[in-house]
Symmetry: C2
Subunit: 341 residues, 2 copies
Amino acid sequence: MRAVIMDAPGKITIGHRDDPRIIEPTDAVLRLVATCICGSDLWPYRGVEPADHTPMGHEYVGIVEEVGSDVTTVKPGDFVVGSFVISCGTCEICAAGYPSKCVNGEFVSVTVGTQAEKARIPFADGTLVATPGLPDEDLIPSLLAASDVLGTGWFAADAAQAGPGKTVAVVGDGAVGLMGVLAAKQMGAERIIAMSRHPERQKLALEYGATDIVTERGEAGAAKIKELTGGLGAHSVIEAVGTEESLRQAIHSTRPGGHIGFVGVAHGGVSIPADELFFAEVHLHGGPAPVRRYLPELIQLIWDRTINPGKVFDLTLPLDRAAEGYQAMDERTATKVLLTL
Amino acid sequence: MRAVIMDAPGKITIGHRDDPRIIEPTDAVLRLVATCICGSDLWPYRGVEPADHTPMGHEYVGIVEEVGSDVTTVKPGDFVVGSFVISCGTCEICAAGYPSKCVNGEFVSVTVGTQAEKARIPFADGTLVATPGLPDEDLIPSLLAASDVLGTGWFAADAAQAGPGKTVAVVGDGAVGLMGVLAAKQMGAERIIAMSRHPERQKLALEYGATDIVTERGEAGAAKIKELTGGLGAHSVIEAVGTEESLRQAIHSTRPGGHIGFVGVAHGGVSIPADELFFAEVHLHGGPAPVRRYLPELIQLIWDRTINPGKVFDLTLPLDRAAEGYQAMDERTATKVLLTL
């Protein structure tokens, strides 16, 4: 099958990989319908993480082609959305709502690679959720978004305890930050402050429910949030960048007792000053989003056309032109790129 | 009045300070009955923080001598326990349960200094809680403990969501860690693992409800906690030290989705590796404990002799011998020193 391969940092090709097949009785094989490029794919692209003929991709929707003998919740012909983390669905950590840290878990990016025509998904019952039927074409971007970027923004808003009466500040205007805005709105937040200096992203943030835009960053950004919140800081802050500056911006934007949902992937070397965190007296929770926990609800909201996260894709290309998609995201001319099959 | 003064790091004297008097209508003046030396008092003692003829002390119980015209909840003659943070009790942050970050707040250590014969307590209604009557002598150490060390351990256990069915690990065997054990027990935790290599403290931890003792530290300590919890980590971890090693030990001892109550005072330069925190996917919450929130409940538990936190004091000295108390705590020959007046 055809598949996106990162031969080396910055070098994307369309290569050949063997067609996947059922290995374990809990597997499913999918014919992928759409996939996309994630901000985290830019880390190896930019050489921050290694890349050596690496199969890419971890977001996906597709049609089930075949299932192993133990799979009970999806069947051939089903349209499915899957999490970017494989999860068994039955261990104690999955049961507690953290399939992203399943004791039998694997990252799809590491062991599967869904920028391809097909994919073998282990633990299909614990990882995939079928849609109520075959979706209309226009729902496919939104369903694809649920696979990671929407699920991650949703987790961030949930971890930040966005809800009625709350002021939510969102640090980061990438796709995850924008999904955080959408999630906070959906959860009933009273005021949503998007921190962005990019006109197109500001526009989408407002469309998704942001009530205020703050263009300042770092300490100036945090000071602006305090100014907008009677000197106290936001109740809920979504951190969707993962650098030391953005983490400190988030900590200093949050009121004492408030909550930070922390989903920007922090890389080695990024550290949080413990004294600042201590004296801020905030709650901090985050990590790889437990997307599978939210998928049933997210699929229904999309199916009912209550939310339209698919608008976050501002460039659509066929899989064969993936290299252009990587370049556009790297140069920030696209927020998020959908790849069709 | 007589008062403990830290002339310079390591140099404790008994000096003279003016008797306090009512300044604001929300003030109370207390005649102190007991005070104590805190682990945090060792920071300036050891020269980690500055000390220059500094009045000391922030834990206190006493008898109200006089109140300002606006004080309504305590009156002359009442025996009171106060938090180590002055709090107005009425601002939005106090109302949300974080009097330790009151917008009108002050640290008692900075503006009052309770290792003295008397103290002026601003915002008496928001800071002090009267006991049901004059306490029996033997209850005084426990009531004094509620002022900080018990309230802090209690907050840590609460932030760590200790409760029925939970395994709680406690990093740090100082007074706060021991109070964390007591609090976790009181909150109904199923299993409480005290991390200590000090025989006397192990003994008190067991008495307060610890079910297991782990003597390993750092990564070895975290590995031992994982081993004791089916490879998953504890549900709840109390961090009562505040160093990078102890913070990482706490993070690595917690299961995904679990909670860390973080009350060890972290100093400048201590940092948390953001990637380790991210991929651990734990909840982290802490800071200066909102003791005032818990005082009514803690006083009642002590009054009813349900808990006996006062046992954490293993050395009692008259105020005039405070220097010996500092030395004993510095040399770890005492866990916590009570000073009588």
